[in-house]
């Protein structure tokens, strides 16, 4: 039955994470962007919120909660409202843990989920994206081939968050098994120090500067137990959709930040004797920003609910992500425009949000929430 009201638990998550984002993340965002680093203390505090380990069983170090993509979307919207780079850092362990939780074998869960839990922020990550203009997660050029002793993995990855310190990686590759598209996308567990895993330099990107991300070169031989969920399971579509919902929600968070900042500025800034917000040219921009943010959020929620009901939501999630990505970019651009010259100056956060928002069209991940 149609309902637009979050559960009490979801409202509480929104409130708690939202308060953390406003009070702790946002004040640290500019300095993190400039220095390209995030205070370890902040990450540790964020980890205590429990977002990355909530749905992991207690015996494996989690809180044994029920996993909900919608609840996750609500949480990461708030985090990204604080700062996108910090949000992505905070959620990186989930990139490793949630796919194993969802589709891994019991053995894999027992062995690897403890690496992604505990009281200290755990450095584990995932490698999906590839350094090609035509990168597409449904057609990876990283190849996995079956051999007698397990698998070989060849290829190159980019935008691997926290790879510099990660103890373990989930590496996505196209398994050469005759299947195509989502069905042949498999995750492999690779531990740090594996022979043939080479870490590149830390990347320098236009935005998300505080997030330490790296390129990886892969020329690996892995054991048969490294393939997540075994050879016959098919999960690429669902995992990808989960991340697309999370990225949509994060796009909404960034857009909301930019909207609110430029709205407040427009009410303060006077021109020709009145606040610029009283001019229709500005007011209409803000009105459109507000309604498109609402629309993006509803599209993301619809995809989230479809996933929570067990579907793979390929259409809903990809459409939501494309929509929310372009809305975030447009809203952030409008925010810079409303601040005019001041928007271009790094004293205000809107230029940073514009750089970060551009990232959504580029970013793809796997199961962040």
């Amino acid at each position: 039955m149609i309902d637009f009201e979050l559960s009490d638990e979801q409202k509480m998550v929104r409130e708690t994470v939202g308060a953390f984002a406003r009070e702790r993340i946002r004040p640290a965002a500019r300095q993190a962007d400039e220095s390209e680093s995030i205070p370890q203390e902040l990450i540790q505090q964020a980890w205590q919120l429990g977002l990355g380990r909530e749905p992991i069983p207690e015996e494996l170090g989690g809180f044994g909660g029920k996993r909900s993509v919608l609840t996750g979307a609500v949480a990461v919207e708030e985090l990204a409202y604080g700062d996108l780079a910090i949000a992505l850092h905070i959620m990186t362990p989930a990139l490793f843990a949630f796919p194993i939780l969802e589709v891994g074998t019991d053995e894999q869960r027992r062995t690897y989920l403890p690496l992604a839990t505990g009281d200290e922020f755990p450095f584990v990550t995932a490698a999906l994206m590839e350094p090609r203009f035509d990168f597409d997660p449904t057609a990876l050029t990283t190849r996995a081939r079956k051999i007698a002793s397990g698998f070989t993995l060849h290829g190159a990855k980019c935008f691997v968050p926290l790879a510099g310190e990660a103890r373990a990686f989930l590496v996505y590759a196209q398994l050469e098994n005759g299947a195509h598209g989502f069905d042949s996308v498999k995750a492999f567990i690779v531990e740090r120090g594996a022979k043939g895993l080479s870490l590149g330099e830390r990347e320098k990107n236009m935005g998300l500067k505080a997030l330490a991300s790296y390129e990886l070169a892969l020329d690996l031989e892995l054991g048969p137990e490294s393939i997540v969920g075994g050879e016959d399971s098919s999960y690429g579509a669902r995992l990808l959709s989960e991340s697309r919902v999370a990225l949509s929600a994060m796009a909404v968070g960034v857009a909301k930040a930019a909207f609110e900042y430029s709205r407040d500025y427009a009410k303060e800034r006077h021109a020709f004797g009145a606040p610029i917000a009283t001019k229709q040219a500005i007011a209409f921009m803000l009105a459109e920003m507000a309604l498109e943010i609402e629309a993006s959020r509803l599209l993301a929620w619809q995809a989230a609910v479809a996933l929570d009901k067990g579907g793979d939501a390929i259409k809903e999630a990809s459409c939501a992500k494309n929509y929310a990505s372009s809305v975030a970019l447009k809203v952030a651009d409008n925010a810079v425009q409303i601040l005019g010259g001041h928007g271009y100056i790094r004293e205000h956060p809107v230029e940073m949000w514009l750089r970060n928002a551009r990232g959504f069209a580029i970013l793809e991940g796997v199961a962040i929430v």
Binding site: M1, I2, D3, F4, E5, L6, S7, Q10, L70, F133, D134, F135, D136, P137, T138, A139, F182, A237, L240, S241, R263, A266, K267, A277, T278, Q280, A283, F284, L286, A287, E288, A290, L291, E292, E294, A295, S296, L298, L299, W301, Q302, V305, A306, I314, K315, A317, S318, C319, A320, N322, Y323, A361, E364
Partner: protein
Amino acid sequence: MVDFELEPQIIERAKFYHTIAETMMRPISRYYDEHEHEEPQEFLQAMWRGALAERASGQQGEGGQRSQTARTLATAVFVEELCWGDAGLFLSIPGPGLGGAAIAAAGTPEQKERFLARFKSGEPKWGAMAITEPGCGSDSAAITTTARREGDYWVLNGTKIFCTSGQRALEKSDGFVVVWATVDKNAGRAGIKPFVVEHGTPGVSVIRVENKLGIRASDTAAILLDNCRVPLDHLLGSPEVKPERGFKDVMATFDATRPIVAAMAIGVGRAALDFVRDFLKEQKIEIRYGIRPSRMTALERDFIEMETELQAARLLTWRACWMLDRGMRNSLEASMAKAKAGLAVTRVTQKAVELMGPLGYSRKYLLEKWMRDAKINDIYEGTQQINLLIIARRILGYSSKELR
């Protein structure tokens, strides 16, 4: 708990309306587009009889069997189906219409009973609403039509235009028009009151029925009120002039009607989208969902964008309806839905014509008609710009004086 699935009973009922759209509206769609002022008698009679039968069996209104907790939402879903059939024919369906909505929003219980009872029996009847004047549209507060009290009557004088189903209400049935007029020009908005003007009242006449770009099956009347006398109890609600109150009634009407107009828009947009989808299917062109936009064909990009725009509008619309059903204030959300839907379907239908090339432009198909029909949604019930203005005032916390 957040959920996007319609109740089974709404889905079932929507299928019924879809069948009406497909079998009773689509086949006559082109004819009544080209024969603008002819009456689709058979269709109007059938819809009226259907509505009567539903009421007789204890179900309600043109929406038929609906969930008691989701009345507006159900209406939006059904209206989308009917406008998928033909928006102009939908607007011509007999019933209380916008006039009924005004009575529901502003009238006393006794007035509701008195004026709306007629829709339970007899021949087809229409209710209509007249706000717009030659000199004022969205600026409803600038209404110049006057209501002067003389003994036991209100005397109305002025000209109203763009009154949907005005001719059917006044000349073709035992209907009525709700006319908004000022009882005190000095009071501004507070002085604007709604009056029920019955068919056949001396002094009211239809002076013109407009020729339009689209929704041609719908009659759009210009009405002259020349010393038109209506009984005192035809003023809806209280005659007292309270600051802002009069206008609040207009606004309350819009809060309820804008989401429905948005749903109408979405129906037209979906018709165009389905046309393109079916055509592509025939040509064995498959839309690939889930691949990255940079790898899509231009056609895929356009199509998916159209589809998502429409879905975004639909979700905003459903939320505005859901809020109303829960008794929540929804002015902001109703305006968001209307602004988004009007613009989205204007763009979607125009893009659809482009994508279909000569087939889209040809009157052999209905697509070009839907493009013409769609445009009205960006105009009536508050233009795109007026809705943006309302949204802007709300999000900025400005009054209508501060943000004009």
